[in-house]
């Protein structure tokens, strides 16, 4: 049994390495393979949906930077919806609506209904061809909207995402760790999925979708449940997955850029990761449930990324359960630390060279990244598997109160 498990883990490792190798090949020698044809003259109407819960003044900055994007003013609107925040977010939204008249629609739910329903409510207000969902704590580059929309010139393109960077990469070791994580996610993992236009999760921080496609998926979002318990997190992954199942392409345009504040405190970070991990595991189960629907519709690479790749987490979790039984100090072995630090050094070099705004002052924090990955894989995965009946806004549940003008 143990031998079989080791073979499975070795196979997974080989597949992952092959995947990374191919990704590096694409990035270095054939970058066009992972790019779609863009038409910057394509200018459909755009609604930017900004659901907000306990974001405070960050929501104002988000609205400001998105409004300042270079796109015809008469062709895009911002619909900011407050989900009954317990802080001053609503005041900041109102301030934005006042500061940018005619460009921002300020809405407030009657009660806290969660991000998914808030988004759907906001989409009902919108009449545009393209809906862009953004996070209320992000700031955006001036060409973000154009970069996203230009990819929709291909009618098969259903969802386009952007690349998120970290605004506070050097605030503390935690944000440094996350910076590496974001880099790996967008510049390594997404590249592989971009290759076949089958990105399995376009993040909700910056997600552009055709309106009719969103409306097609909307009923499914509303009826998402787990044995009767409503599922409110991971709508971005869910939407992306269903777009793939409906035969559309999904893509992350790394030139469409935004930046977010990475959590600086462990509880906040933990909740965020918990939310992401849970949506990933839910998606994995859904994938297996609807596996036959994928065949013939989704690109084989997309099927692989949805079905096999996520098993890494589960197999790693299982491995972490098993490893200490044989060697409690397995993860403190010099070889493990050396590999972690060597990988960190390479990443640091790449990030420093090609992404100076994401430069990390202390490259040794990658060692922490490895440590977090162990905790993340072990405890978070188990926690997620055992708390499918629980959902909330995650990292935004509590927020300090800071009134506009303060």
């Amino acid at each position: 049994m143990l031998t079989l498990l080791l073979y499975v883990l070795a196979l997974r490792l080989s597949l992952s390495l092959a995947r990374y190798a191919w990704t590096v090949c694409i990035r270095v020698w054939h970058p066009k393979l992972a790019c779609v044809k863009q038409d910057f003259s394509f200018e459909p109407t755009v609604s930017i949906l900004l659901p907000c819960f306990n974001e405070g003044p960050d929501v104002y900055n988000s609205i400001r930077t998105i409004v300042e994007c270079e796109y015809p003013a008469d062709k895009f609107e911002v619909i900011a919806t407050d989900d009954r925040s317990r802080d001053d977010s609503w005041e900041w939204i109102q301030k934005a609506a006042a500061d940018f008249p005619g460009r921002v629609i300020a809405r407030r739910n009657h009660e806290n209904i969660g991000k998914s329903r808030t988004l759907i409510g906001a989409s009902h207000v919108s009449t545009s061809d393209i809906i862009i969902v953004i996070d209320s704590d992000c700031i955006f580059a001036k060409d973000t909207i154009r970069q996203l929309v230009s990819c929709f010139s291909d009618p098969k393109m259903g969802i386009v995402g952007g690349k998120v960077g970290v605004r506070n990469p050097n605030s503390n070791s935690l944000t440094q760790v996350q910076t590496y994580g974001y880099f790996l996610a967008f510049d390594l993992w997404k590249t592989y999925e971009n290759w076949t236009r089958s990105v399995t999760c376009v993040g909700g921080y910056l997600l552009a979708i055709r309106r009719h496609l969103f409306e097609q998926i909307e009923p499914k979002i509303l009826t998402r449940n787990w044995f009767g318990v409503e599922v409110v997190e991971g709508e971005d992954r869910y939407i992306t997955h269903h777009a793939l199942l409906l035969g559309y392409d999904t893509y992350v345009n790394t030139n469409a850029r935004c930046w977010t504040n990475a959590p600086e405190k462990y509880p906040q970070f933990f909740k965020q990761q918990y939310r992401w991990r849970k949506s990933g595991i839910r998606d994995l189960f859904m994938t297996y449930k609807l596996l036959w629907r994928h065949v013939g519709t989704v690109h084989p690479n997309g099927i692989y990324c949805s079905t096999v790749a996520p098993l890494t987490l589960l197999s790693f979790t299982f491995g972490i359960f098993i490893a200490p039984l044989f060697n409690p100090l397995f993860f403190l072995q010099p070889i493990s630390l050396a590999i972690s630090l060597a990988t960190g050094a390479v990443l640091h070099l790449i990030v420093s060279t090609h992404f100076p705004d994401q430069k990390i002052n202390n490259p040794l924090t990658f060692g922490l990244f490895g440590f977090w990955w162990i905790i993340n894989s072990f405890y978070l995965t188990v926690l997620c598997l055992l708390t499918f009946d629980f959902s909330d806004w995650g990292s935004r549940t509590k927020k300090r109160v800071r009134r506009p003008g303060q």
């Binding site: 044995f227 009767g228 318990v229 200490p324 044989f326 060697n327 409690p328 100090l329 405890y379 188990v382 926690l383 055992l386 708390t387 499918f388 009946d389």
Partner: protein
């Protein structure tokens, strides 16, 4: 009844079961992580734990040591026997050599005496030979003269000048004289032989010298034999000393104790914890690894020699030495760890 009608009930049941399972599992995982962390921390800090090992006559190592010990003991016995034989050989050879060495001067003395005798009698006989030679010459000339007389006897007998009896008597004298001359020649020839023996090296003399050389060779050979035997005795005595030392060391190992006593409870003491390895110190066993402990015996003896083992908790390489335990609760030897000196957490 439609599935949709009973779906809420099914969902509720599944959720209830799931929640029970989830709560139990989460607490189990939490408890597991906590216990694991505490355990690792405790064993990283604790300086009183030892790792018990049960040794018995049936153990592979014990059997191996038994075989080796017996083989070594046999070798020692064989060597001692051989040393005894060699010592006897040396004694016998020494005695024989001494006797031969005593014989050698006697031979030399005999040869010297004989040589002296020859030197004395040789010249005398040579003179006698000369005299004999002169006597023979005179006898020869006398016989030549008698030859005429002999030829005249027949004539005088025929002439009747002498009687037949006188003629016969005269002839007999003549013949006898010839015979005497011949005897004299024979005697002289023999004398020459004697003179030759007395004045020149004879084969007898050479035989004597040969025997003397053999004697000396035999003495030398005996010397070599004695020397070699003594060297071999020295070598074998060294071997015996070394093997005895090895046996002595082996007898101080826990495996020897296991060989002798049948089953021996020992424990590996890591070098970091060696301070607790004091003979007579109490030994504790705990029900929950290091909690709820009771005394189960004492530390009986320390063994020499480094031992390598795997850390019972961390599975890393461990270096230390073994101690013998006197356990009142034999099953405690099956515990993963025991504690020496005091209870690890005072309870």
């Amino acid at each position: 009844m439609k599935l949709e009608d009973i779906r809420p009930a099914i969902n509720d049941s599944v959720l209830t079961l799931y929640r029970i399972f989830a709560i139990v599992s989460l607490y189990a995982v939490l408890a597991g992580v906590l216990v694991f962390g505490l355990g690792c921390t405790f064993y990283a800090i604790s300086k009183t734990w030892v790792a018990p090992v049960i040794l018995s006559q049936d153990d592979k190592d014990t059997l191996d040591l038994t075989g080796k010990t017996l083989a070594t003991q046999n070798t020692v016995d064989d060597l001692k026997l051989d040393i005894g034989k060699l010592e006897n050989t040396v004694a016998e050879a020494t005695l024989h050599k001494a006797k031969l060495q005593k014989l050698l001067p006697a031979v030399d003395e005999a040869i010297a005496q004989e040589n002296r005798h020859k030197r004395e009698t040789g010249p005398v006989l040579a003179n006698l030979d000369k005299q004999k030679h002169a006597d023979e010459a005179r006898t020869q000339s006398a016989l030549v003269k008698l030859a005429d007389v002999d030829s005249n006897i027949e004539k005088e007998l025929a002439a009747g000048l002498i009687t037949k009896s006188d003629a016969t008597q005269a002839t007999m004298v003549f013949v006898k004289s010839h015979g005497d001359l011949t005897d004299s020649k024979i005697a002289r020839t023999l004398l020459k032989d004697t003179i030759w023996e007395k004045t020149l090296p004879s084969t007898t003399y050479l035989d004597t010298l040969h025997k003397k050389a053999e004697l000396e060779s035999e003495i030398a050979c005996l010397g070599i034999v004695i020397d070699n035997a003594q060297k071999q005795i020295t070598t074998e005595r060294n071997q015996v000393t070394k093997l005895d030392q090895a046996l002595k060391v082996a007898k101080q190992t826990p495996l020897w104790a296991a060989m002798q006593d049948g089953r021996t409870n020992v424990a590996l003491v890591a070098y970091e914890n060696q301070a607790v390895a004091i003979e007579g110190a109490p030994v504790y066993d705990c029900y929950l690894s290091f909690v709820a402990c009771r005394q189960v015996g004492t530390l009986k003896a320390k063994f020499v020699g480094e031992q390598h083992a795997t850390h019972p908790i961390f599975r890393s390489d461990l270096r230390g030495f073994l101690v013998q335990l006197e356990l009142t609760v034999p099953d405690s030897a099956k515990s993963k760890t025991l504690f020496v000196g005091s209870k690890p957490l005072l309870f």
